[in-house]
């Protein structure tokens, strides 16, 4: 890996071995995405896996946005 950055390496990679939160691949309204579960009913978008370009411009689907799940009755 080649980095071209103004920051020193030890500053960037100081917490490299910290465990990352588990990610989950889900489908919402036919749009596949990788999310990080915040709790039982909430997840935040990490990235989209979609071939439809409009999804990437949709403000609601931007990485970091929260998705709420409602229990089906």
């Amino acid at each position: 890996m080649i980095y071209y950055t103004a920051l020193p390496e030890e500053l960037i990679f100081s917490n490299l071995n910290e465990e990352a939160p588990p990610l989950k691949e889900i489908e919402v309204d036919g749009i596949q995405m990788v999310v990080q579960m915040e709790n039982e009913t909430e997840a935040s978008i990490v990235r989209l896996i979609s071939g439809d370009l409009n999804h990437y411009l949709d403000q609601r689907l931007q990485p970091g946005n929260k998705i709420q799940f409602t229990a089906k009755l």
Binding site: M1, I2, Y3, Y4, T5, A6, L7, P8, E9, I12, F13, S14, N15, L16, E18, A20, V28, D29, I31, R47, L48, D52, L53, N54, H55, Y56, L57, D58, Q59, R60, P63, K66, I67, Q68, T70
Partner: protein, 245 residues
């Protein structure tokens, strides 16, 4: 019956209210409409923090991710409602592959692109900044130009140096092709000693970047946007002329 519903709605219990709110939120989050609500004909793309490549960076880094940016550029190029793109840079650099990929994507867009360096556009931020059709730099913004560094296992053989030089040449060639700075001048800035405290290289500030020919103009958001709008208008007129002929 209609009347009944109306009275119900006018006196909601707190519980009902909360329920409706959560339902409304769910509809907003899980709604079926996928059409983006774009009101602007300009797409704004941010490149902040580290440019992240194949390795996920530790959480204290603010990162711009390759897999977020690239599809956005493709979508902006394809979407009929978008007529131009503005790239806002405040980056410290990052992965060479990912940075050059973003730069190449911006450079090969058919729609007008304008970049503006605010705060800093260091290292791999330099090729990204010059990739746009017209580049701007804020008067106080800086760009650090220094040699590429190799991280991880380094084998002490001449090939390592050759490889590193090859990788460095990719950056230099891209910058040379997309800006007015010559290869010789850029190399000179890259290898200058005595300018940076902890590294060799140069820190160019605002107007200096324009003097060296690295960036096109000094300016803020209004000059960047008015230039972009001018290019959009020009492009529209030229396509219309083509249609008429």
């Amino acid at each position: 019956m209609e009347n009944n519903e109306q009275t119900k709605e006018s006196t909601p219990t707190p519980d009902d209210d909360a329920k409706r709110k959560s339902v409304a939120q769910a509809i907003q989050q899980l709604g079926q409409t996928n059409v983006p609500q774009l009101e602007s004909n300009i797409y704004c793309m941010n490149v902040i923090g580290q440019v992240e490549g194949h390795l996920v960076m530790p959480p204290q880094n603010k990162t711009t991710k390759y897999e977020h940016i690239i599809p956005q550029i493709v979508a902006a190029e394809q979407n009929k409602n978008i007529e131009g793109m503005i790239i806002i840079l405040n980056t410290v650099g990052g992965d060479v592959e990912a940075g050059l990929a973003i730069a190449e994507m911006i450079a090969t867009m058919s729609k007008p692109t304008v970049s503006i360096v605010l705060g800093g556009g260091h290292s791999i931020g330099v090729p990204i900044a010059v990739a746009a059709d017209v580049s701007f730099i804020a008067e106080t913004a800086t760009m650090t130009i220094h040699p590429v560094r190799l991280t991880g296992l380094v084998i002490g053989v001449p090939q390592t140096f050759e490889y590193l030089e090859k990788m460095q040449d990719r950056v230099i060639r891209f910058v040379e092709q997309h800006s007015n700075i010559g290869e010789k001048n850029f190399r000179e800035l890259m290898f200058r000693t005595g300018d940076l405290a902890r590294d060799i290289g140069t820190n160019v500030i605002g107007k200096d970047a324009v003097t060296y020919g690295l960036i096109d103009r000094v300016g803020g958001i209004s000059s960047a946007l008015s230039e972009l709008n001018r290019m959009i208008k020009e492009r529209k007129e030229s396509t219309q002329e083509e249609l008429l002929q």
